[in-house]
Amino acid sequence: MSFNFNFNLNETKKAIKLTNEDVIDLLVIGGGPAGLNAALYAKRKGLTTGIIAKRIGGQLLNTSSVDNYLGISQVSGEELSEKYLSHLKELDVGILEEVEVENIHKSDRLFEVLLKDGTVFTSKTLLIATGSSPRKLQVRGEEEYSNRGVAYCAICDAPLFKGKNVIIAGGGNSAVEAAIDVAKFASHVTLVHRSELRADQILIDHMNHQANITIHLQTQILEIIGDDKMTGVKVLDKQTLLERVIDADGIFIEIGNLPSNHLIKNLVSLNERGEVIVDEKNMTSLPGLFAAGDVTQMPYKQIVIAVADGAKAALAANEYMNQNF
């Protein structure tokens, strides 16, 4: 038996705490790739800036291995997040973590950001980089068996399904990655997807090499069933139109994400998918309010894209500041 150690100095050495004494030039909400890079760029431009986030790292913390980031052939999502954070600490960027923004409003020329604990921050420009969160299947039984079989974080929860039968719902990169991760523990993994696979070929090849993974395409999940715990899913085979039950002790739902737009959905224009619409310089329909990363209409939700989007938004906010303040 061997154990590794993911020691994280950042846990013991905290960043400078962001305070609300002064009006901030660019306040960033969200500590994922987009928000972190925006703060870096803003700081280097000489703006006063800071980050407010529930969890620094965002979705990176749910990613076991990042293999498509130029210059770093393989890194865990958490390690990458640590590298980002160390870089920000070198520049003394203020950070407020483990807090949730509840409400945002613009009064006159300034933005007011209200936290759940009642604290108010004021800023001249504001960047929304709140990313996205897992989409639910929205079938019967999903709520009922949530945490009694239904799970959403493969790297966290895979070890709990040691020796068990597990279903992965979805057909994109995160579903295929989850299948590979979970197959290391589970006795059998069944990937169920309503259409065709749309994951990267390199991942599909990897999955096909795994003897304990079965794939059912054109198969729609109708219901999650069980007694006091989940025991399986009822599916519809879309070719034969026959319903059947696949037995399983657990299911990981990896069917994509929904933009976390709730803070500003009444302030700005959204597209039909609920994504924030921004112009080519990342400004929303409300002047001075910018958005970047997964929360926007930007296609292809990827780390490298979110990072670049954050940089672009910060540079644009700087330009806006020069023109308007």
Binding site: M1, F7, T12, C156
Partner: protein, 214 residues
């Protein structure tokens, strides 16, 4: 056995431990025969003891040192608790090896037990001080869960603020039966006094609100 902590981590830990104020004792319980990760947990704690003069280790056997085990309500192995410089138990317990991501709940617990306290708002501290019934917080984790150490740390911070509160990390794979009993299929899972269940890393506020409502 090969060293558990590599040179790089040892170096970082020595530096982190240099900030410790008072002495801390780790009291470890293992048992003979079949015990998943007992040897590795002992190895880890021995290596950690080596990295600072302020850290001490006492080793016991669950079946032979029954009186000692009783003092800290130890019923499974491997388990260990941290004692402050006066040798008092403040409710900080680990069940299973704090490897993987859990090293990030273990190290801060050592630092804080030595007297380097985390800043908490005065009104929050006052509310915690008011808790006058026994509270047990179990935090189920896996070693590959990046969100879990945060939840364990909060349980430990609460424990250190009030003698009535005990906070324990439980590694779900090691204690498979216990995890099944509490239906753990997602981590972190927080169970307060074996009845209130919270899933996911919650704000410390939420821990306290649940405890106050007991």
């Amino acid at each position: 056995m090969q060293k558990m902590l590599n040179e790089e981590i040892q170096k970082q830990l020595r530096q982190v431990f240099s900030e410790m104020k008072e002495d801390v004792t780790m009291v470890l319980f293992t048992e003979e025969g079949e015990c998943y990760s007992c040897a590795e947990t002992m190895g880890l704690l021995e290596e950690v003891e080596e990295l600072s003069d302020k850290i001490h280790l006492k080793k016991f056997d669950l079946n032979k040192d029954v009186e000692e085990a009783k003092k800290y309500n130890i019923e499974m192995t491997p388990s260990f608790v941290l004692l402050n410089s006066k040798g008092e138990y403040e409710g900080v317990k680990f069940n299973g090896i704090p490897a993987g991501h859990e090293i990030n709940s273990f190290i801060p617990a050592l630092i804080e037990m030595s007297g380097v306290k985390q800043e908490v708002p005065a009104d929050f501290e006052a509310r915690v001080a008011k808790i006058d019934k026994p509270v047990n917080i179990k935090v189920f984790v896996t070693l590959s869960c990046p969100h879990c150490p945060g939840a364990v740390q909060k349980a430990h911070v609460l424990a250190m603020l009030n003698k009535n509160i005990e906070g324990e990390m439980i590694e779900a794979q090691t204690f498979h039966d216990l995890s099944n009993r509490f239906n753990v299929s997602g981590v972190p899972k927080i169970v307060i006094n074996d009845k209130i269940e919270l899933v996911g890393n919650q704000p410390i506020e939420e821990f306290l609100a649940q405890i106050e409502a007991l």
